[in-house]
Amino acid sequence: MRRERNPLLTAYAVLVYAFLFAPIVVLIVFSFNDSRRNIQWRGFTLDWYPRLFANDELLDALSVTLQVAVAAVLVSVILGSLIGLGLARLQSRARAGADTLLLLPMVTPEIVVGLSLLLFFLQLFDANGSVGQLQIAHITFCISYVAVVVRARAAGMDPNLEEAARDLGASALGAFRFVTLPILAPAIAAGAMLAFALSFDDYVITTFNAGVGSSTLPLYIYGKIKFGVTPEINAISTIIVAVTAVAILLAWRFGRLGGVERSKLVDEAAG
């Protein structure tokens, strides 16, 4: 296929990426700042990186954050995608109701969601916060985001495609797996990425549902504001960015991201 070029749009894209990464550049630079408080630049040092690995509190917080985020992404992606797909196809009048139910978690102020879950777990289960409670809380607020994205994609998809596959002899599950899923895949992936970002950074809802010994990275960081958010935080963020970048590069190298080609074939075959 002839690849067009649009230099104006490309220049624009570069600008937008620059905008997106500007604070990250600052963040990385300041991870080498020789200043505990990290407000003004004082000099170059590599010290924060080894100190980071000696900082048990921070590493524990990171571990909890990842435990919660991974659980949140896995479950919310499954449940959210199902909702998104179901809603896109739903014809009945209950649709408006289901729509509203979907939007409610997003519309509710975070403090109300956080406190309501605190009350819920406290009154009904006498629970005082824990990693499990956090996981449930995070899954709950991520579902809607995934569902909205998947629904947008599913709405643009012809429902008869599955029908056609069934006509050609595929089972219901097979049709789902080989027709619907590949088409929805980008939306599901997008939802997963959004969910991860949401969960990783959540503060308000987490505050009310973390318990003794289950503090997350945002809680740790906010707790440090009063006494100085040291460059260790910058260092760990830099490492996360670096690790992710390497992972992406590796995945790209081995052609996984070229999976878009395969779905294109499906598109073309489907007409």
Partner: protein
């Protein structure tokens, strides 16, 4: 699309009617687990908070439910909150519009010109947001403060002779919020744009006089679901965002979300805070529906 094979009419009819019946049921089977979870872990807790909102405080700031009433809701309609409410709506609206305007061309570019690298480019959009929110915001503070990078550049280039106050203003708040919500707009937009059949776009080009018209009359309406999704994912959370205006804002940038927060924590008035929270939810829902209807009308109507 409906390239139906020449199957015997009898089988065809039976297939359709079965599908129809199953269609409805199948949708509900899909919806059940997710909706069930939301009912258990969202609706039920929300009902608890609603019950709280009907109660009162005693002198020890404990919740008392003996005389349930809607008093707190009446109190929530207080003209004192109007400036903060307007702030929230203003910031959310600006953020949404800017995110859509900035995000759409980028999503379009990735979809049309990204080629083999589409996935990579998308992940690149998300990558900055897998770092700590607070540090990103601090980075903006470092850039925007009086002796920060932006002011230095402006002065070096000669546009200004003195540092201008960029931080702690409406400008910095909207900038920070737009930055924070941009990926929430880009991703759904991309997902919808990428669905476009290039043949359709090509056909539109042939039919309409200019590329611009083709865009307005064909591309834009067809990507409506994505635009709606992007608007929802931006506007709604933006109304509830109180941290960004708190950190990047100044003396006059208080939002209604912050007021709710304060009522709960400083005022220790859970019933009142809950009522105000619900009130805010109501306003957000109404605002969203109006915004979406306008969006649909403007874009599809054009």
């Amino acid at each position: 699309m409906t390239a139906v094979s020449e199957a015997p009419a009898r089988t065809q009819t039976r297939r359709v009617s079965l599908a129809e019946r199953f269609g409805g049921l199948r949708q509900w089977i899909l919806l059940a687990p997710g909706l069930g979870w939301l009912v258990a872990f969202f609706v039920v807790p929300l009902v608890l908070i609603f019950v709280v909102s009907l109660g009162h405080r005693d002198e020890l700031d404990r919740v008392v439910l003996s005389n349930p009433s809607l008093d707190n809701y009446a109190r929530a309609i207080d003209p004192r909150f109007i400036p903060t409410l307007l702030n929230s709506l203003r910031y959310a609206a600006l953020t949404t519009i800017l995110s859509l305007l900035i995000g759409y061309p980028l999503a379009y570019w990735i979809s049309r010109y990204g080629g083999r690298h589409k996935g990579l480019l998308l992940i690149l959009v998300m990558l900055p947001f897998w770092t700590s929110y607070l540090i990103r915001t601090y980075a903006w503070m470092i850039m925007l403060r009086d002796n920060g990078v932006v002011n230095s550049v402006l002065q070096a280039v000669g546009l200004t002779s003195e540092p201008i106050i960029l931080l702690n203003t409406d400008f910095s708040v909207v900038l920070g919020m737009t930055y924070g919500f941009l990926p929430f707009a880009i991703l759904p937009l991309y997902v919808s744009i990428d669905r476009l059949d290039p043949a359709l776009v090509g056909a539109a080009r042939d039919l309409y006089a200019s590329g611009r018209q083709a865009f307005l009359h064909v591309t834009l309406p067809l990507t409506m679901p994505g635009i709606i999704a992007a608007a929802i994912l931006t506007f709604i959370p933006a109304i509830g965002d109180f941290v960004t205006p708190d950190l990047l804002g100044g003396a006059s940038t208080t939002t209604i979300a912050k007021v709710v927060q304060e009522l709960f924590l400083e005022g220790r008035d859970w019933p009142y805070g809950s009522a105000l929270g619900f009130f805010l939810m109501l306003i957000t829902l109404v605002g969203t529906f109006i915004a979406l209807r306008t969006l649909r009308r403007e874009v599809v109507g054009a």
